[in-house]
Symmetry: C2
Subunit: 140 residues, 2 copies
Amino acid sequence: MFKIGRLAELADCQVVTVRFYEKEGLLEKPTRGDNGYRLYGPADLERLKFIRHCRDHGIALSDIKELLKLRQTPGENCQPVDTIVSVLIGRLEEQLKSIERLRENLVNLKGQCRSGTIADCSILQKLSDPDNCSCGEIRE
Amino acid sequence: MFKIGRLAELADCQVVTVRFYEKEGLLEKPTRGDNGYRLYGPADLERLKFIRHCRDHGIALSDIKELLKLRQTPGENCQPVDTIVSVLIGRLEEQLKSIERLRENLVNLKGQCRSGTIADCSILQKLSDPDNCSCGEIRE
DNA sequence: CCTTGACTCTATATTAACTATAGACATTAT
DNA sequence: ATAATGTCTATAGTTAATATAGAGTCAAGG
């Protein structure tokens, strides 16, 4: 049994984050000592590590909640897990596309700047005049 | 002179967003009609369009504020504009790297799933056991 | 025994960029 | 006249935490 500081340390996250996960229902309410301090065991650590590792993969807390629920039915088919991951991959690929487009637009904008005065700055001009901006198809 | 609904329509954004920008100090407080309604002119529209177009490029409101300030000193050198854009491009490239890594990790995870039971699910297993996960160098 | 520092507790506010909601008043259309 | 739409203010919610305030607890050193 260890206290919250030790748990956080072992899972490589912050104390406040542990309390936050508890409030959000991702971690179970732990037993408390006589002093009111939270007391955790190995199972809590494993669960917290799972959550943190999911977060490292960009999995949202709501999805992690789903995964935690699924873990409690070991006999069931794991298709839903696969689905969650697939959806996630799809979302990441969309983000990639959008960020790449943004980057290209900005590089474009920057390439045209002649480093003169604000009045002549082609970056500001293009930003001011969407219709004449080479960014093309961002807004529909 | 037109009302907020028309302004929003012309700038292709929502009415609430216009009021939000005003509260945040990005749009000036407009004159008001006898009924208390906000009244806007062409300059307000141009400013709003500038803001929206910057947002389309992923420029943060705080940076947009900077750009708006710079626009008011047309005689100054436009170097700061260039700097803002450069920093932005750098940030986007970092995001790209991180998202690409996440995507690869997830694709990896998914590729190993044999679609059996939850108990055997290799996705959940890897997520539960950071040390054995093929994701490698995400956490330091 | 007392104090200092480190740890824990709760509750609330902040971040970014909006979106949503509620309740009231004004305008426009039928 | 009435109904639908537009506008007003103020407040809360979104994500995943982080920061802050104020109070109680614990272990070690003087």
